[in-house]
């Protein structure tokens, strides 16, 4: 059975924000190298889509693409998406426990309060970005941080997929909500019309987020950038595995093996 195509786009977020471009800061992967995808691990990925059709010309295999954006130098996408919220809550519980114990001991040292202040971390308000809730800052090891220079970059967000492959109706991309909202949330996927072989470029619209100081507050600012990849569609007729052509009798031996 044809596998679903997983396309991972790894962004060097820090440099992309610095340079305000994804050019040179994007690495593309898919799991179709064995069928002829080219440029896996580089900025110039051509994803092979090996289509098949039946003898009546109808498309035989549904080809499905899934895109997964990831940030280089951030908590990897294998860590569940509710991770940040979980860590915040665990962290708050620890802090509250310590506050309670400080009180119970009767005396409050300034050093203790300072330590707890660091623990509480900094919060950032959502700016013009989409999908980012107000939250504490985590660093890349998953611990809360008070340093605005150490924060973990939020996962890049795909906002649209456009270009020739879409205009010419080669693929039909859309954003889907996963039933498992907590862990996966939203993702982009597409089905492909494999009846017209050729190479079709497409453009991915990506939103990155950076933390900036605005009026004495830390604010998430969204930065919208684009990058490009392409699909290479091929199409071949299905054939019978036993005969190489159409339906025939099963090739049974005159006398079957014992057992």
């Amino acid at each position: 059975m044809a596998q679903q195509h997983g396309i991972i786009v790894l962004f060097d977020v820090e440099n992309a924000l610095k340079e305000r471009t994804l050019a040179g800061n994007t690495y593309w992967f898919d799991n179709m190298k064995l069928f002829g995808s080219a440029g896996v691990g580089t900025e110039k990925l051509v994803t092979i889509v090996p289509g098949t059709y039946f003898s009546d010309g109808s498309q035989a295999t549904e080809q499905v693409l899934n895109w997964l954006p990831a940030a280089l130098g951030a908590i990897p996408p294998t860590v569940p998406r509710n991770y940040l919220a979980e860590q915040e809550r665990a962290d708050d519980r620890r802090t509250l426990d310590e506050l309670a114990s400080l009180d119970a001991e009767g005396g409050v040292e300034e050093a203790d309060v300072k330590r707890l202040q660091r623990r509480v971390g900094k919060r950032a308000r959502p700016g013009t970005g989409r999908g980012l809730t107000e939250g504490k800052l985590l660093d890349v090891t998953g611990r809360t941080t008070g340093s605005a220079a150490a924060y973990n970059y939020p996962a890049p967000v795909i906002t649209d997929i456009t270009g020739q492959a879409v205009v010419e109706k080669i693929m039909y991309p859309a954003q889907y909500g996963s039933p498992d909202m907590i862990y996966d949330g939203w993702y982009w996927a597409a089905t492909v019309d494999t009846s017209r072989p050729g190479v079709y470029p497409y453009t991915m619209h990506v939103q990155l987020h950076e933390l900036v100081e605005q009026g004495g507050e830390m604010v998430w600012r969204s930065v919208d950038l684009t990058c490009e990849s392409s699909l290479k569609i091929i199409s071949d007729p299905k054939r019978n595995g036993f005969t190489g052509a159409g339906l025939g009798e099963l090739p049974l031996p005159a006398v079957p093996a014992a057992g």
Partner: protein, 159 residues
């Protein structure tokens, strides 16, 4: 009697590649026949009738791994019985299967693509009743020296 029986070949590709065997629960064969035995195991015996079409369809447990049927070969008398344990290593104790025409699975991009093959055939009227016809099912998981694994245990049976 239905004129078509469908056998689903479900493979845990990562499990099979890690264990290097289709046993250990890495292969599950299921069909939609009413009288078949050992459903859900590599030892499925599918009860068939002459004239019926039997179709094998590979399915992956993990949607992003390729699972394809590379070959289905019926084992003739005189063949060495199926190894009791995990799959024999390629080349050892391999029973001579019925020489089936080797079907070209090369796609127009020049790559082997077994997704092009449709595994179905008509049960012949000459099939002997009451005798299981075992077949070697070879499954291809990605590419490379460890990619092809097989079992000799499933069978078709005319009652």
């Amino acid at each position: 009697m239905s004129d078509r029986i469908s056998i689903v070949v479900m493979v845990d590709a990562v499990g099979a590649l890690s264990d290097r065997t289709l046993h250990n629960g890495n292969l599950s064969l299921v069909d939609d026949g009413p009288a078949s035995r050992h459903q859900g195991t590599p030892d499925l015996v599918t009860v068939v009738s002459p004239g019926q079409i039997v179709q094998w369809t590979p399915i992956h447990v993990d949607v992003q791994t390729p699972v394809e049927i590379q070959a289905i070969e019926f084992l003739p008398a005189g063949a060495v019985p199926a190894p009791a344990g995990p799959d024999a290593a390629p080349g050892t104790a391999a029973p001579a299967a019925v020489p089936a025409p080797t079907v070209d699975a090369t796609d127009s991009g020049g790559h082997e693509n077994y997704d092009l093959l449709v595994w179905e055939g008509v049960v012949p009227y000459g099939m002997t009743p009451g005798v299981p016809y075992r077949y070697r099912l070879s499954v291809r998981l990605h590419e490379g020296p460890n990619a092809v694994l097989h079992v000799d245990s499933p069978a078709l049976l005319r009652v």
